[in-house]
Amino acid sequence: MSEKHTYGGAYVPEMLWETLQKLDAEFENAKKDTAFKSEFENLLKNYSGRPTPLIFAARATEELGGAKIYLKNEGANHTGAHKITHCLGQALIAKRLGKKMLIADTGAGQHGVATATVAAKLGFSCKIFMGRIDMERQRPNVFLMERLGATVVPVEYGTKTLKDAVNEALKFWMENLDEAYFVIGSVVGPKPYPSMNRYFQSVISREIRAQLQEREGKPPDVVVACVGGGSNAMGSFDDFIHEKSVQLIGVEAGGRGKKLGEHASRVLSGAEGIFQGYKSLFLQTEDGQIAPTHSISAGLDYPGIGPELANLHAEGRVELTYATDDEAVAAVDFFAKLEGVISALESAHALAHVQKIAPKMPKDSIIVATLSGRGDKDLFNFARAFKDESFREFLKDEYGRYE
């Protein structure tokens, strides 16, 4: 273990110290409690719909002409993405801690919808913090969260996007520590959140192993996942980390250019920093100010990367790369036409990388790409990206139907 790259930690005001200590202890207890495990597994199976399918992408494999491509379809989960898994896990921990309210930040609204869903299911009140600009861009998800009984609180300062929503949720939490549990939406934040969310998401990699064993009788050669904070990636990698023959690749948002502010790739221009409670790689200025980010996919549009993933990258175990906005949109189209799968724009970054590497790999090798979410939520974004005129007309007409 190198001294220099021990990312993680808990860089928070002292008022959070005890809360994090208690959370850490409760999580350790819960892991040893078979009743907790079976309640979690029951919810995953009978509410979220696990195990999710492992799709053999036969036509894409043939088209690309190299490695066999499998898609781990996390989009088949209830609410459409892997996020619900760590929401369910954390909500069960919150229950054990006697909390009555779940709070969360959200960017695109996916984590917000998953949290609001779980809050409704398990009987918590729910407050979701969301940047004003994201609320305007993601109105359908705001609508859904409100229908699920959550209060959506607009954040009016900063860049008015995800990182500010996280700040605001943290602040509300500090003012309401007795009542509120902060459901963090990825493998980020102060200890123990990164390892806790990895623990919940690790079911993805165990299912991949079992499903592939049954179908191919061997583990994959490569696992590819998109990386925002890193929860679907850490979940997909976890069971393979000690198996050096399995190559692990995380794909970040390359956005529309390589300059700071045009992308959200820490491997392109991240620097060591300390932010939102943890030490990791962050997109920031020379002066240590957190930089604005861009990605066509709201879920990858965040300046930091999970500390465990940053450590694995520093150790050389995980390779990090990026795909651009345009490559992601093209990958959605490619897999939609060939596999009947409409991917979320986030996950499409992983798919874009599969398109790059599969042709160069031997035919008996296997790539598993995690399809972290389905594309329904991106309907408006896709329509805009494809400059679909009929959709524009539809929106106009729809407006008319409201009158």
Partner: protein, 277 residues
């Protein structure tokens, strides 16, 4: 051995801890470097000193200030938009220190970390600062340890920030961070910054119900002067805190005053707040 810095001289006066009894605490006035511009913030510092501040808390703006409410968060953002940088803030620090009052520099971990911890602490010491406050850097992290070492070397007080609800066990750990109050700890820590409640800065005067009990506990554990801030906005707030605090802190109220009617009102605002007649 290094001499005493200005803050230590101020607090070292034997009458300090009697201030609470006489109901006349010191006043630490908070301001943001570069808000609304470099020159305006220099004038703000001057007005605060003229108006009666005993200590100036100079916040170096950070894009994402997690312990600050909307007032200071937006003002920090405005300062950055107006061109504030860490380097310019450190230039301003020299000018503010020249007004003669002890200056406590406040910022968040990331800008300090990026600047380089030893270099940052040496720079603020050379610029005339007496103390450093970094609310999101616990002393038992690698960077917290580096800050402590650099502060010791440069004769800068490293101020712990605590809140009602922080358990006694943790307070004891913090108190011993500088090697215990009987050895170097007292000089290192200077005073304890106690927030008036759990939460963030901002101009709502809802002090925690258990604030007085917590203040007593903190003073007993640290054996240091106690500063109380967060939500102080009126003469009445200062008077009610005077019963428990050796130092009272206010900040958002000055930002509000500047926003409402410009920097000309800062001196009047501080006079109104700290008058004890």
């Amino acid at each position: 051995m290094a001499g005493m810095n200005k803050l230590q001289t101020l607090l070292g006066d034997p009458s300090t801890l009697l201030r609470v009894k006489s109901g006349k605490p010191f006043f630490m006035a908070h301001m943001i470097a570069g808000y609304r511009s470099d020159s305006e913030s220099e004038q703000v510092a001057q007005a605060l000193v003229k108006g009666g501040a005993d200590i100036i808390e100079l916040q170096i703006p950070f894009s994402d200030p997690m312990a600050d409410g909307p007032t200071i968060a937006v003002a920090s953002e405005d300062a950055l938009k107006a061109g504030a940088t860490v380097a310019k803030s450190l230039e301003l620090l020299k000018k503010v220190a020249a007004f003669g009052k002890p200056v406590a520099v406040m910022s968040y971990t990331n800008p300090v970390f990026r600047y380089g911890i030893p270099k940052f602490v040496k720079t603020i010491a050379d610029a005339g600062a007496s103390a450093l406050i970094v609310p999101d850097c616990p002393f038992d992290t690698e960077e917290g340890q580096a800050l402590i070492a650099a502060c010791k070397e440069n004769n800068i007080c490293f101020i712990p920030v605590v809140s009602p609800g922080v358990p006694e066990e943790r307070l004891k750990q913090l108190a011993s961070a500088g090697g215990g109050s009987s050895s170097g700890g007292k000089d290192l820590l200077g005073f304890v910054y106690c927030t008036s409640r759990q939460g963030i800065t901002g101009a709502t005067s809802k002090f925690a119900k258990d604030l007085a009990d917590f203040a007593t506990l903190a003073k007993r554990v640290f054996n240091l002067p106690l500063a109380v801030g967060f939500g102080v906005k009126s003469k009445e707030d200062v008077q009610s805190l005077a019963k428990i605090a050796d130092i009272v802190i206010a900040g958002s109220v000055f930002v509000d005053a500047i926003k409402a009617s410009g920097i000309g009102t800062v001196e009047k605002t501080i006079r109104e707040i700290i008058q004890t007649e």
